[in-house]
Symmetry: C2
Subunit: 355 residues, 2 copies
């Protein structure tokens, strides 16, 4: 800092000027104080679609920080959520013109989502989807929502991995199952024709799978899409503070979702790149598209991964949607922002995958 900062906008940051008058003064300066931000009332913006306004206007749920106290309670909560979720899937699949089939691949449970009409350029392509849900939620068919969006909007065949979760299985079970499915897929399809995608915990698992495949010397996919990844489970990153209580979906890192991820980690070092992939070496990663929103609690996670990829020389695209909280782009298939998000991912995959 050389002082011109004080006048870049003429806004009179005199305290900043004093802090930065000289190198000597800088060395002696105390640690900067936290920024005190007053309480605010955030209106629902006019710059998003009516569907997104509905999502943004929903009040924070009363249970965001109610943490189950036992494996049985976690399971009951996950099962109840899944039962509600799957009620909506038949109509969603119908609207997006896809069908679903449960299957296994070398013992790994999957749901295969197939569009009614696959365009010629996608017929030799396969996408692997890894669902979100804080490593504990969305068992079974409930984990296929994003896969249905991807298959429907992109007209790709999508294999969604129904990985093992607590309370039965803990780290690295989820990653092991994704790896099993990846290796099985490699038997039938060239990695050049495949991509991997997922959001939230699935976005982290997408990145972790690449770390793991690199460790094992396995082929990597031609591209990946990581949406609002839980890329740092150590609660490190600025948007954990700036977007706390602003994100009406995740709400805060002191809530249920981080507790669930910690439950899955089961005492393992949270800084392990297989749990917090932002801490891994990203050289050699395939082209990556990242998706987040301006109100996302994981905005910093997402942009930190983007920067780290770019610093490693990886082609990496970032899309940030106006106003959206965590994963809001996969909540309403009728929202134009949802279609736009998956259209961008499709275009990115189309550019990088073989045929």
């Amino acid at each position: 800092m050389k002082g011109f900062s004080t006048t870049m906008f003429g806004l009179g940051l005199s305290a900043l000027a004093m802090l930065t008058l000289s190198h000597a003064a800088r060395a002696q300066a105390p640690a900067p104080a936290p920024l005190q931000v007053p309480a605010r009332s955030l209106p629902v913006p006019t710059t998003v679609s009516p569907q997104m306004q509905k999502i943004m206007g929903a009040p924070i749920g009363p249970n965001w920080n109610v943490v189950p106290k036992s494996g049985a309670e976690w399971k009951a909560s996950a099962d109840a959520g899944a039962a509600r979720a799957i009620q909506n899937l038949p109509a969603l699949r119908e609207r997006l013109h896809v069908r679903a089939e449960a299957s296994t691949m070398d013992g790994g449970k999957v749901h295969i989502i197939t569009p009614d009409n696959i365009p010629p350029e996608n017929r030799a392509r396969v996408l692997i989807h890894i669902h979100g849900g804080c490593y504990v939620l969305n068992p079974g068919e409930a984990g296929t929502t994003e896969a249905i969006f991807m298959a429907g909007f992109g007209r790709f065949k999508v294999i969604s991995v129904d990985y093992r979760m607590p309370p039965e299985s803990f780290f690295p079970a989820a990653l092991d199952d994704v790896l099993t499915v990846w290796k099985a897929a490699l038997k039938n399809t060239s990695p050049k024709n495949m991509a991997i995608l997922g959001s939230s915990a699935g976005g982290a698992l997408t990145l972790a799978l690449v770390h793991r495949a690199k460790q094992l010397g396995l082929p990597l996919p031609a591209a990946i899409a990581s949406g609002t990844p839980m890329a740092d489970l150590t609660k490190t990153g600025d948007s954990f503070h700036t977007n706390a209580m602003v994100d009406n979906i995740l709400v805060s890192s002191e809530g249920r979702c981080d507790a669930a991820a910690g439950y899955y980690a089961n005492g393992h070092d949270l800084r392990d790149p297989l749990l917090s992939p932002v801490y891994g070496d990203m050289h050699g990663f395939p082209p990556t598209i990242l998706t987040t929103g301006t109100r996302d609690l994981l905005l910093s996670n997402t942009v930190r991964v983007h920067r780290k990829l770019r610093e490693a020389g990886v082609e990496a695209a970032l899309q940030v949607f106006e106003g959206q909280a965590h994963g809001a782009y996969m909540r309403d298939d009728t929202a134009p922002e949802s279609k736009a998000a998956f259209a961008e991912i499709s275009e990115f995959f189309n550019r990088h995958l073989g045929k």
Copy 2:
């Protein structure tokens, strides 16, 4: 919204579920209420460089919302800021190995920033820089800081436009001056070998220049870089709310900078795309790279422009830096984030400009 949103993360957004039970209920639902966000204390993050921590840790200046009451007061404020700024420029130029020369091009005032060593691939290339400062600040040499960063980090010859400003000249004088320089530059250099860049007001003017050149049928640059653009002067956009008092540089749209821009607009319709370029048709825009930060008051401006460009089929890259407030990437040339931002812009230009 079809209801699966309530269980995507199992976080119990029961009110959201009720809002979205049916189309009938949705149609009757009242407008969503604003989100109430409690007061918070934002620590300086550990995920940015020490230099950026200093910038982020600076308290909000006492004058951010002190608005000059006359042209003379605006001018005195701008001149005082400029006098402070230019003190730092000789050392900055020395560190970045560039020299500066004041000149004119067809009557338009410019400062030409030339690196000591220009690599062969950049020798036939020229960049046009448009400085920021809320359309009122940074007259004369004071407006060259970002041009020095660009010339120094990218090793390009950069022509920085010293456009007319209030209190002498109002909209569209600044844009007219940029246009004059653009037309003059076209006499000597192919547009295929040129790019235009700027941040804040300069980021908006970069976009507005393209709108204007399209209107006039003039050649467009091969690429543009728009940093944290004042792309919407109507105070529309979610981050005007979410990042109010979080951005320690601009602070709020109720502050001095918006007042300055309004002063420049001089009663003209603020929704005119030549003042608020987000409202213009972006089809046919050149490849564009956009830069912002997670604490930027203009984060929404930036991502809205990005989405609009993408929807118009334009190649557009977005870089969002962890924790940064408005324009923080051009405050300290020793911060690795500053170098990274201009390295990305340079790489983008290198990819799109002829030689």
